[in-house]
C-alpha cells in the first residue's frame, strides 16, 4: 500500500533520512522504532510530502506521490496524528474534530464524531472547550480523534501515547487494534517499543536516518540488540 524506496530527506544541509526503504501493506500495523533524533518523525512527514524526499520514491496505492503537494497526498486517504499534537488551539474540541472531517459529507461527520466520542468519552465531555486549554493528554486524544475523523485508509501515528496515563495508553493500543479491524492500515512511531512491537505485525528499526533492522514485531521483541537498545532489558 505504502512504499518508500531509497528515500533521502534533508533539512537544508542536514540529512535526516539516508536511503530508507520501507513498506506498509494493506491491513497491517507497522511500527517504527528508534532513538531520539533517528528520523522517525521525518519519515512520517516525508510520506506526507513535508518535507519532500530529495531523492527516492514514495508510492501510495500504486501512485507515485513523491512530488505531490501535501494536501493532494492527504486527500488520497492518509491521515496523521503529528508530533506535538498540533490541535487548533482556538477552536473547540468539536470544531477540531470537524476540521478532521473536512472533506466528508454532513452525515458522515456526525457519524465520525460519534465514533470518536465513543472512543474518547473525555472529548465528548469537553466538546465545547477550546482545544488549547486542554491538558496534554487530552490534546493527544484529540489529535488522534481528529486523524480518525478523516476516515483514512492509512493512519500515521507519531508517538500517540506520549503524555498519556497508563490506563489510556492501554486503551490507545486497543483502539489501534480496533481500527485495524475496521480496515485501516496503521503506521506507528513509538518510544514505547515494547507495547508497539506487541501490537505490530512488522517493525522497522531506524538509526540515524537509516533502516538497520526489519522484521516481524514478534521477532524484533526477541531480538537481543533491540531488547538492549529499545526495550531496556
Amino acid at each position: 500500500m505504502l512504499k518508500l524506496q531509497n528515500v533521502h530527506t534533508y533539512y537544508g544541509a542536514i540529512q535526516a533520512l539516508n536511503d530508507v526503504s520501507v513498506e506498509v501493506n494493506k491491513g497491517e500495523i507497522v511500527t517504527l522504532i528508534g532513538a531520539n533524533g533517528a528520523g522517525k518523525t521525518t519519515l512520517l512527514m516525508t510520506v506526507c510530502g513535508s518535507p519532500r524526499a530529495s531523492s527516492g520514491t514514495v508510492t501510495f496505492l500504486d501512485e507515485d506521490i513523491t512530488q505531490k503537494d501535501t494536501h493532494t497526498i492527504m486527500q488520497r486517504g492518509i491521515a496523521i496524528s503529528p508530533e506535538g499534537r498540533r490541535v487548533f488551539p482556538d477552536l473547540t474540541v468539536a470544531e477540531n474534530l470537524k476540521m478532521g472531517g473536512f472533506f466528508l459529507k454532513r452525515d458522515e461527520i456526525e457519524a465520525g464524531l460519534n465514533h470518536v466520542y465513543t472512543l474518547f468519552p473525555r472529548l465528548k465531555e469537553r466538546a465545547n472547550q477550546r482545544a488549547g486549554t486542554m491538558s496534554g493528554g487530552e490534546q493527544q486524544m484529540l489529535a488522534i480523534g481528529r486523524a480518525l475523523m478523516t476516515k483514512p485508509q492509512l493512519l500515521l501515528l507519531d508517538e500517540p501515547t506520549l503524555g498519556l496515563a497508563p490506563l489510556i495508553i492501554a486503551q490507545i493500543f486497543d483502539i489501534i487494534r480496533t481500527i485495524r479491524e475496521e480496515g485501516v492500515t496503521v503506521f506507528l512511531v513509538e518510544q514505547n517499543a515494547n507495547k508497539a512491537l506487541q501490537v505490530a505485525d512488522r517493525g522497522y528499526v531506524l538509526e540515524t536516518g537509516k533502516v538497520v533492522l526489519a522484521d516481524t514485531g514478534a521477532n524484533l521483541l526477541l531480538n537481543d540488540e533491540v531488547r538492549k537498545a529499545y526495550l531496556g532489558a
Partner: protein, 308 residues
C-alpha cells in the same frame, strides 16, 4: 443649548460613516493577519487602486451616458473588484509567497516595499496629482432638529454604511458556513496542520488576499464617490487607520474589525468635534493604547492563552 442634541446626532452620523470606511478596509488586514500572521502594509494601496479603477471605469462609461445611476455604480464596483482581485492575487504570489516560512519580519518589510512601489506605480501611471471624482450620488437625507440645525446625511455616505454592514454580514456567514471559510479558519490556527488535513493552504491564502482586496476595492470606489478626491497616496493613511482599527477590535476577528473601525471613526469624529481636529489622531491612538492596556488582545480578540 438646544443645538447640542442635533449636533451630536450629526457627529454620530459622521463618525459612523468614517468608521464604516475603516471597518471595510480593516477586514482585509484582519483576514490576512489571521491566516498568515502578517501585517499586509500594502493593503491600503489596494484600496487606493480600487478607487482609481472605479474612476477609470466611470470615465470609460462617461458621466452623461444615460445609464441609470445604480447601474453605473454597480459596473464601477464590479470592475474594481475584479481588477483588485487580480492585484491581490498577484501581489501575494510575487512578493509574499516566496518568503513564507522565513523569518517573520521579512514579509512585513516586503509589504512596506510593496506599498511604496504601488503608490509610485500609480503615481507614474496616472499622475501624482489629485484627481477629482465627479459627484454621482448627490443629495442627502435631511431633517430639522432643534431650532435651526439641519441634520444632513448625504446619500453617498448612507450608502457606505449600508454596504459595509451588508458586506460584513455576508462575509461572516461565508466564513462560518462555507467550506472555504471553514478551511480558512483552520489555516489561521495552524497552516501546516491544515495542510496535513488535506486543505490546499496556498489556495486559501490566495483566496484570502483576493477577498481582502475586493473588500478594499469596494471601499475605494464608494469613498471616492463620497469624497471626490483621489491621489496615489490616500491609501497609506487610511491603511494605517484601518490597521489600527483591526488591532483595536482584536486582530483576526471580523466582527472585531467592524467594531474597531466604528469605534475609531467615532473617536476621531468626537475628538475633532469636542476637542480639536488637531488632537483627533492623538485621541485615536491614545484610545488604542488605552484599550490594549486593559484588553491586550483587542476588544473581541480572544485572550491569548498559552498553556504551560
Amino acid at each position: 443649548m438646544s443645538e447640542i442634541l442635533p449636533q451630536l446626532t450629526q457627529q454620530l452620523f459622521n463618525g459612523l460613516s468614517l468608521g464604516a470606511i475603516y471597518a471595510l478596509i480593516a477586514i482585509g488586514y484582519t483576514m490576512v493577519y489571521g491566516i498568515i500572521g502578517m501585517i499586509n502594509f500594502a493593503h491600503g494601496e489596494i484600496y487606493m487602486i480600487g478607487a482609481y479603477v472605479g474612476l477609470v471605469t466611470l470615465s470609460a462609461i462617461g458621466v452623461g451616458s444615460g445609464l441609470p445611476l445604480v447601474v453605473i455604480i454597480l459596473i464601477m464596483l464590479i470592475v474594481a473588484v475584479l481588477v483588485t482581485g487580480v492585484y491581490g492575487y498577484a501581489i501575494e504570489k510575487v512578493a509574499y509567497a516566496p518568503l513564507r516560512g522565513g523569518p517573520r519580519l521579512v514579509p512585513l518589510i516586503s509589504a512596506i516595499g510593496m506599498s511604496i512601489f504601488l503608490q509610485n506605480w500609480v503615481a507614474i501611471g496616472q499622475g501624482a496629482r489629485d484627481m477629482a471624482v465627479p459627484a454621482l450620488v448627490t443629495g442627502s437625507f435631511q431633517f430639522q432638529m432643534g431650532s435651526d440645525f439641519v441634520v444632513t446625511a448625504p446619500y453617498s455616505r448612507i450608502m457606505i454604511i449600508v454596504v459595509t454592514v451588508l458586506m460584513m454580514i455576508a462575509l461572516s456567514l461565508f466564513i462560518k458556513y462555507s467550506r472555504v471559510g471553514r478551511a480558512s479558519r483552520a489555516c489561521s490556527q495552524d497552516l501546516r496542520m491544515a495542510n496535513l488535513l488535506g486543505i490546499d493552504t496556498n489556495r486559501i491564502i490566495s483566496f484570502t488576499f483576493i477577498i481582502g482586496a475586493m473588500l478594499a476595492a469596494v471601499g475605494g470606489v464608494l469613498i471616492a464617490l463620497a469624497i471626490g478626491k483621489l491621489n496615489p497616496f490616500i491609501g497609506f493613511i487610511v491603511g494605517i487607520k484601518a490597521f489600527t482599527a483591526a488591532v483595536l477590535g482584536g486582530i483576526g476577528s471580523i466582527p472585531g474589525a467592524m467594531l474597531g473601525g466604528v469605534l475609531l471613526g467615532l473617536a476621531e469624529t468626537f475628538a475633532a468635534a469636542y476637542i480639536s481636529s488637531q488632537y483627533k489622531d492623538i485621541v485615536a491612538f491614545g484610545l488604542l493604547v488605552f484599550i490594549l492596556l486593559f484588553r491586550p488582545t483587542g476588544l473581541l480578540g480572544k485572550p491569548e492563552v498559552e498553556k504551560v
